[in-house]
């Protein structure tokens, strides 16, 4: 579904991504891990061009992702942010329906119905008409996920979705992500939640020094880390 070839990204003189090759298939739940500053978030943000890559190719559904039709690509590539980025001036329901309606994918009543159905699913239907300020972090993040889902994306990108949450809220967000993964949603997650990676991911990618160092199913990934850097990393996080 997504084919990344030789992706490069520099910040000033610093080369963060030095040629990342990665294929993400339909139904994959890929978790990206690595030491901080290794470029996992940058990689994720390059996929939907929130960051401009400096080299390489990203092929999404058989077509190269370019600046030209980026808005179309993004409609099918949802993203969930560390800091939720809900729109504080709009109600929860409007947050969810804004994009589908403005892009002409749905009429307002249809979008409202879909939003309510999604909110029902995460048990927040009673919050439809409140503003994001009134919600807890976990509720905000679940609504941010639903907002991305309302676009019927082919793939969801998660950029450290639980890092800004209080510990007791992490569970509810991970639970929703697990549910999505089991439902067959293609997901790419940057996260520090090793438990989630072990349980839900079908591939774990270790990025270090700007390249993909390890790409394995979770069992092998944790059981016999051959790579020295990965060993050092795992000894710190586990």
């Amino acid at each position: 579904m997504i084919d990344v070839k030789g992706l490069k990204k520099n910040y000033g003189g610093l080369q963060v991504l030095k040629g990342v090759d990665l294929t993400i298939n339909k139904g994959d739940c890929v978790v990206l891990v690595g030491p901080s500053g290794c470029g996992k978030s940058t990689f994720l943000r390059c996929l939907n061009r929130l960051e401009e890559p400096d080299g390489g190719h990203i092929i999404f559904n058989g077509k190269e992702v370019t600046d030209h039709d980026i808005d179309h690509v993004r409609q099918k590539m949802g993203m969930v942010f560390q800091h939720f980025n809900l729109f504080p001036h709009l109600t929860v329901k409007k947050n969810i329906t804004l994009a589908p309606v403005r892009l002409g994918l749905m009429k307002q009543p249809e979008a409202d119905a879909k939003a309510m159905e999604l909110l029902e699913r995460i048990g927040l239907a009673d919050k439809a008409d409140t503003y994001p300020n009134m919600l807890s972090g976990g509720q905000k993040q679940r609504i941010a996920i639903v907002r991305a889902l309302a676009m019927n994306p082919d793939v969801l990108l998660f950029d450290e979705p639980t890092s800004a949450l209080d510990p007791e809220m992490v569970g509810e967000v991970l639970e929703l992500m697990k549910e999505l993964a089991r439902g067959g949603m293609t997901m790419v997650c940057v996260t520090h939640e090793m438990g989630f990676a072990r349980e839900v991911a079908n591939r774990i990618i270790f990025i270090d020094e700007g390249v993909v160092k390890v790409d394995k199913p979770p069992k092998e990934f944790f059981a016999n880390p051959e790579n020295e850097r990965l060993k050092a990393f795992l000894s710190k996080v586990l």
């Binding site: 401009e52 949802g78 980025n85 804004l98 403005r102 503003y131």
Partner: protein
């Protein structure tokens, strides 16, 4: 009262010395009441408010356009800069620099004696000059407001597939307005006071009316103090309205 004024001014003309109370009365009467002069002040206030309103609308329009161009230019990706936007941005920068770097009075004189030298409608030329001046300051207010919105909001909008303009109008601007409006209110009060400057090019506002009366009576104190009082009352009135409005905004923030 009119008879008393006539009698006292006759007395003064004949060389008699008036006492303080009589002198006060005569000067006050001729500054505000004689041949219904207060109507000239009222007309002046009307023009002052009209000029201020025109300048504010013009300033906000200009400021919004300049701010959008400058923010749009700044938010482009490094390798894909639009050349048209680059040129517009340069023009806007020159405009803001020139307007903020030269005195308001000089701008007014240039507008009336160089650019619109043939126009007789001094009031409107003054309003135009005020608006152009205000636009530079308003653009910085709006630009600051737009830049103060969390960049994550733009990313969230764009990541949903909305284009730059839609995200700007649906997500960024509604949030920026909360921080922009109070400063715009202050700009309005500044404009109200600065509108008195157009007197020097012959704009017929409040101070102009006072000067006309000063020239006829050879008496400056009462007309000038009267004008100052009118400005003070107007500014206090609008300040109070603004404060009320700001409290409202703050309240809806806490929802």
């Amino acid at each position: 009262m009119e008879a008393q004024f006539e009698a006292l001014s006759e007395l003064a003309k004949s060389g008699e010395k008036l006492n303080f109370g009589q002198d006060f009365f005569v000067k006050f009467y001729q500054a505000f009441l004689y041949s219904d002069r207060w109507q000239q002040y009222i007309k002046g206030v009307g023009t002052t408010l009209l000029v201020t309103a025109i300048a504010l609308v013009l300033g906000v329009l200009l400021g919004a356009i300049v701010a959008m161009i400058r923010v749009g230019h700044a938010q482009q990706k490094p390798h894909h800069r639009n050349p048209i936007l680059g040129v517009l941005n340069a023009v806007c920068k020159v405009y803001v620099t020139v307007i903020r770097g030269t005195p308001m009075m000089v701008q007014l004189l240039i507008m009336s004696m160089v650019i619109f030298a043939s126009s007789r409608n001094f009031t409107m030329v003054g309003a135009l000059a005020l608006g152009i001046n205000s636009g530079a300051y308003v653009s910085e207010i709006i630009r600051g407001g737009l830049m103060a919105v969390d960049p994550g909001q733009m990313e969230a909008g764009r990541s949903l597939g909305l284009n730059y303009m839609t995200t700007m109008f649906e997500i960024i601007i509604p949030q920026a307005i909360r921080s922009i409006l109070p400063s715009l209110g202050n700009e309005f009060i500044m404009l109200l006071k600065d509108s008195s400057l157009i007197t020097v090019i012959g704009g017929k506002e409040l101070l102009y009316a006072a000067q006309g009366i000063m020239n006829r009576t050879y008496e400056a104190m009462f007309p000038l103090l009267g004008v100052a009082a009118v400005y003070l009352v107007l500014v206090m009135l609008f300040s109070a309205l603004l404060a009320k409005f700001e409290r409202r905004l703050a309240q809806s923030d806490r929802r």
